[in-house]
Symmetry: C2
Subunit: 198 residues, 2 copies
């Protein structure tokens, strides 16, 4: 009989601290380039899929958490980059609802457009802004991943969702650089580890 | 400056082992009643929201993992019951893709219809069957929770999703008992802890 587990842990790979910038990143391009660097590092380091994310305090640009895709090495399909960034931010701020942690709010930068799982995680996180690099069409063009369904009008649903706090969405930030990161994963022989492929 | 975290852990509350049945649950009703008992225990125990889930090996009925909503006590909006059940099953079976772990496949029982986050988690899990108690309309009628958007035709999308393994979906299993569990949460003064409520 399978021994039942009662806890699981997800973590960043060793060496993550050396990737952290020493001063605040003051604009969207700097923040996205940092996140794309994390994704490239995860590829080169062979510590997960070609996706990264980070949570910032919006006004100050303070980095609150980073996330890397850890699905295969940590045996966990939940472990998308956005998931880890959100959970680590909530842990550091000691709340399940980031909207209660500071007046100016928090934003998630994601190297690629969130899949449906990460759309849902964004929905329940208390984040107030989502900034995206590559589009899902880029991901499907440049890698073997298939992104699955999203609710129709997903951007509009995030930005207009009574009675919950709206989430502003911005896409195509450093899109070309985000596409290059995805291409480098495929060029390095990176696998599509989606479940139940025939 | 916020200290960056590099790992987080989610866990079941103390006492979970005493809730586990001693012999296999051989049919859908028995499995769902067990899951509903877990949800009621989580309410009575004040260890999270009014939702529970479990993963079973389909043919043998062997229990692989349980999950309870742990959002508020563990400061984590990812910590829906389905999330914890899926992650614990994957940990025990040492794979991010449950479809590779055993020929007969695995099924997730959920006391309530998955929200969009848990729909996404089901999508990427490698599960091959999803069994649901209460409908989302029941949740919204009997509690203050609002379930958020799902992709149109979500059941059909799970059951027909080339190139991924199909996920069979069954709803309304022990629906009335599932509704009673939700009502008991509200009657006990259970809160809607959704993020960013105005």
């Amino acid at each position: 009989m399978t021994e039942l587990a009662d806890r699981f842990e997800l973590s960043l790979p060793d060496g993550w601290r050396q990737q952290i910038p020493l001063s605040p990143l003051t604009n969207d391009v700097d923040r996205m380039q940092f996140v794309l660097g994390l994704a490239q590092w995860n590829i080169n380091n062979k510590t997960g899929g070609p996706f990264a994310a980070a949570v910032f305090e919006r006004q100050s640009g303070e980095l609150i958490s980073i996330g890397l895709n850890r699905v295969v090495p940590q045996f966990c399909s939940l472990a998308h980059a956005e998931a880890i960034a959100i959970a680590l931010a909530q842990k550091s701020l000691a709340t399940h609802d980031l909207s209660t942690a500071a007046k100016t709010g928090f934003e998630l930068f994601a190297s690629g457009q969130p899949c449906v799982q990460c759309f849902g995680m964004t929905w329940w996180s208390g984040l107030s802004r989502l900034v995206v690099g590559a589009r899902s069409t880029d991901i499907e063009e440049l890698t073997e991943f298939r992104e699955g369904p999203l609710p129709d009008k997903w951007r509009q649903q995030l930005s207009d969702r009574q009675p919950l706090l709206p989430v502003e969405v911005e896409i195509d930030v450093c899109r070309e650089e985000a596409r290059s990161v995805l291409a480098s994963y495929t060029n390095a022989g990176g696998l599509n580890y989606s479940p139940g492929l025939f």
